[in-house]
């Protein structure tokens, strides 16, 4: 299979004001294959968000490099779509306005980008809400807009940074199912960051765990061979969950 994203020996040290050095990542090397759904699992403060931002190009690694399709990632770009934990929708734009920002920046004419945006709004299940403003939407709906907005720009890979962290448990389950459905419909390479073991097993083809303390190092890689759609109460699911929990002793 084709390697889509390749991280080679990533190390990241932040320098806080006053020369304090915060060593966040060390020795991260991993490959993500095309159209694979990779989950990066770790508790809080394990550097996983930083890793995702490095892949996105919003941060530069102190050492090491990230290759996308063989070319080094030098900065943020439209070929990677990022979904933020706190939605980050533009409050002054409607749902349609938010989703069409990507094509708009690329100069796509109005009629065409409206069509594109409408398709993705429909895909995430928000058809009929095009004229709503973000402050009128619930958390789950806002995140779906975020996903649609990232998708509408037709990125090569999708990066999701704990996207359901701010939702309640039931909405979270629902959004996990929706994510799996959307991904099956429009396949992309996905790197998904979370701290929730069940979410990782439900969604991922492969799970990469990070150690629970800084600097974040890779702990293990799990291959999830369960058939989709997955069941939280499946025996194989629960076995894998037990295995991961035991090995990482995650408190979450």
């Amino acid at each position: 299979m084709l390697v889509k994203i390749s991280c080679k020996n990533i190390r990241k040290i932040f320098i806080q004001k006053g020369k304090m050095q915060v060593h966040v990542l060390e020795g991260i090397s991993l490959d993500v294959y095309e159209n694979e759904f990779v989950v990066i699992l770790g508790p809080g403060q394990s550097g996983k968000t930083t890793l995702l931002r490095i892949i996105a190009g919003l941060e530069t690694p102190t050492q090491g490099q990230v290759l996308l399709d063989g070319k080094e990632v030098k900065g943020p770009g439209a070929d990677r779509g990022l979904v933020f934990q706190s939605y980050m929708l533009f409050p002054w734009r409607t749902v349609m306005g938010n989703v069409e920002v990507g094509p708009k920046l690329r100069g796509v004419p109005k009629r065409e980008r409206r069509k594109i945006a409408a398709y993705y709004i429909n895909l995430v299940g928000l058809a009929g809400y095009e004229k709503y403003y973000p402050h009128q939407l619930s958390g789950g709906m806002k995140q779906r807009v975020g996903i649609a907005r990232a998708y509408a720009n037709n990125p090569e890979v999708m990066l999701l940074d704990e996207p359901f962290g701010q939702l309640d448990a039931q909405t979270r389950y629902y959004m996990e199912k929706e994510t799996a459905r959307i991904w099956e419909t429009e396949k992309r390479t996905v790197v998904f960051v979370t701290n929730n073991i069940e979410e990782a097993i439900f969604l991922g083809d492969r799970i990469i765990t990070l150690e629970g303390k800084l600097p974040g190092r890779m702990k293990s890689i799990y291959k999830v061979n369960l058939p989709r759609p997955r069941e939280h109460t499946d025996t194989a699911f629960l076995e894998l969950r037990h295995k991961i929990t035991e090995e990482t002793k995650l408190l979450l």
Partner: protein
């Protein structure tokens, strides 16, 4: 409690809940508003008629009479509406000039460090000076024509407009810029797509503050040296020893100031419909 014993207790409770008792009436907020307002008018009338403050307070009836007279009669060549328009016109012109310069400048200062380094020190020197302190210099420079009054209003409205658009940009969530970058935007897109719209609510609240300062400035300027306008009406009342003119003028000023505030609020609701929403949710 048995059923029979309960019934009278229930009946009593229901009666208590639904009765219009005097105590409840007195405790009602809106009733008190009305009482207080009427009491205020009555006390005013009494103090004025009993001449407790000498001849310097006019009863409400006199004030109303004077206002009605002003609507018809001409005072220094204009009737009441003419004076209102003069004051309001000065405010709008000064306001427009001030915001046209201050808002873009504030945005520029927040976005470009060099511009900030050049402008901010000089601005900080001028910031603590009340705009009214400029009145005398304005008269030295412009005489008592329109331009001196408009100059004061510009000075007064300038500071809050600049500060608010400056802070409006500085307080934008940095991750919003990330979003634009990840969608393929460059610096120019960042500014147009994020900075401007995100700073709008702050700019509008700056406008509100500027507006009330502008009113203070225009009145002060008209009190000192003017031939028309609402401030001039009050000063005439003082010169002619007609307290009813003074109070009438004050009432009109309050009314017009309140209306202009409503106007800006309404404008904000139209242009920034999302701001109120966020507060509510």
């Amino acid at each position: 409690m048995s059923m029979e014993a309960m019934a009278p207790a229930v009946r009593k409770a229901v009666r208590e809940r639904t009765s219009i008792s005097l105590w409840r009436l007195v405790g009602n907020e809106y009733f008190l508003y009305i009482v207080s307002f009427i009491g205020f008018l009555l006390i005013w009338d009494w103090v004025a008629k009993a001449q407790i403050l000498g001849r310097s307070l006019a009863p409400p009836s006199d004030v109303l009479g004077e206002l009605r007279r002003l609507m018809a009669v001409e005072l220094a060549g204009k009737n009441l509406l003419g004076h209102i328009w003069d004051s309001t016109r000065r405010i709008f012109i000064g306001f427009a000039i001030a915001s046209a310069i201050a808002v873009p400048l504030g945005l520029l200062m927040a976005l470009n460090r060099y511009v900030n380094a050049i402008v901010k020190p000089v601005f900080d020197i001028f910031k603590p000076m009340p705009p009214i302190a400029w009145i005398s210099i304005a008269i030295l420079w412009f005489g008592i024509e329109e331009s001196s009054k408009i100059f004061i209003i510009v000075i007064g409205a300038f500071v809050p407009c600049l500060l608010n658009s400056y802070n409006g940009v500085r307080l934008i969530e940095p991750e919003l810029y990330d979003v634009i970058r990840m969608l393929g935007g460059n610096r120019r897109n960042e500014i147009i797509q994020v900075c401007f719209p995100a700073a709008f609510p702050a700019i509008f609240s700056g406008l509100q503050i500027s507006l009330s300062i502008a009113w203070t400035c225009v009145l002060a300027a008209e009190l000192v040296s003017s031939r028309s306008g609402l401030g001039w009406i009050i000063i005439q009342g003082m010169r002619l020893t007609k307290p009813e003119l003074v109070i009438g003028g004050m009432a009109i000023i309050a009314l017009v100031a309140w209306l202009t505030t409503l106007l800006v609020s309404g404008l904000e609701k139209v242009i920034c419909p999302w701001k109120r929403g966020i507060k509510a949710v």
